[in-house]
Symmetry: C2
Subunit: 285 residues, 2 copies
Amino acid sequence: MRVIKSVKEMQEFSDSLRNRGEKIAFVPTMGYFHHGHLSLMDEGRKSGDCLIISIYVNPTQFGPGEDLEKYPRDFETDRELSEERGVDVIFCPSNSEMYPEHYQTFVDVEGVTRNLCGLSRPYHFRGVTTICAKLFNIVKPHVAIFGKKDFQQLVTVQRMAADLNMDIEVIGMPTVRESDGLAMSSRNTYLKKEERESALSLIRSIKLAKELYDNGERKTGKIIEEAQKFIEEHPYTKIDYVKICDAATMNDIEYIEGEAVLALAVEVGITRLIDNYVFGNPLDI
Amino acid sequence: MRVIKSVKEMQEFSDSLRNRGEKIAFVPTMGYFHHGHLSLMDEGRKSGDCLIISIYVNPTQFGPGEDLEKYPRDFETDRELSEERGVDVIFCPSNSEMYPEHYQTFVDVEGVTRNLCGLSRPYHFRGVTTICAKLFNIVKPHVAIFGKKDFQQLVTVQRMAADLNMDIEVIGMPTVRESDGLAMSSRNTYLKKEERESALSLIRSIKLAKELYDNGERKTGKIIEEAQKFIEEHPYTKIDYVKICDAATMNDIEYIEGEAVLALAVEVGITRLIDNYVFGNPLDI
């Protein structure tokens, strides 16, 4: 396994792979790996001849007052896990390599980023799409793999890739969960012991919403109300949003007809957790 | 020579070139060719194994009330001139191919686009960078060639390519002029006979500025004042801007020290003309 820190070296390496006709699979990450990340790597290992991952805590997707500084990092463990998982290259550039002085270019996806996390984190998706555009130009993958836990992020990156004619297949992999249902996230490490039970209110409210839907409820207002009420019954919780949106446009909907997603963002103590569920799908919890 | 209208076909063609190890040179244009365009093609012919040009009047770089509808078009003549010039592929997509329904992604270069044409045409450069990003992803060139007449555009595209780590060399070619010095532009076709002499006020004010500079003047206020006065003496002229900027940042400067550019935009009748001059360079007029 190779560790590359320079943009130029990464591009030359990827060029050499492409010149040999190899298919490049890419998993962009912010590190501090859990089983969710590992599942993306497993998918990458299957879908490409060469598996490249990036580890980069991208400052432009954090807002002022967010957790950029304290975001968990553990490169040595990440490196070992990557090696075990059959990763060929870790690309882990410095901030000055990615955003040198006079940096001034941003990619903005307008429609699908405006609701949900785009409301509470106004520049977040601009940071995500910008770093993804950069990483795609550096790693030159044929396929890029993201988790569905960040559903709006996945839709946004897919939208960007399609709109800007990036010749890259962007695929989403199912959320990986702890045995009790909590969606895996590097931020779960922030949760205090006494908050852990309240963190389960997200997946449990999803189960509740699924049951209502499976029993025929299609009015989103009704489902949202029940889910919110359920979450609010748990201590330490503060709802950022509980919404049901069209899964392609991310716009709020009143009735569930086509593909619809229930999206949740809840602060549990100081930890902001997100989760989501696309109606009509199984939920193995 | 091949004419390609589909994004997918263009990408597959470029992939096949790259797989054969061929170097792709690319000249993006809005068509209605003059000798300026042809000089870019000549440079492309020299710098690549395969020369691809695009002809596309990009709607997102025109503002409301600008000349999108009446922008001159003549595909048959353009095709003949391209063939003569040794072009291998013309990529000429439709609007619906480039901006399908629900299109919503834009690339914005913030710093260098804010002055000059960015002041009078607020969304112009966002349109330029967005279409260039798209075309680069479609044509997959190693080198892209632009004219220096649109100096701010060249700086902006170079900035975007560097910031987003596009692995593309973006080069600028000297402005091609009529024998009397008028910078060639597809928009010159709008000029009425009686306006033609006034259109020369741009290059002649550049000569005046060059003389002041060559005689030791470094205060930009003084040079700008003389150039403005000179242009205003001509009938039909309305100055949009006459500015002297740092050639890298496009910021106004008070004294000429490093590389500085005199940039002009003047309406002559209904025709908006631009021209520029980087101090210290020869001017063959």
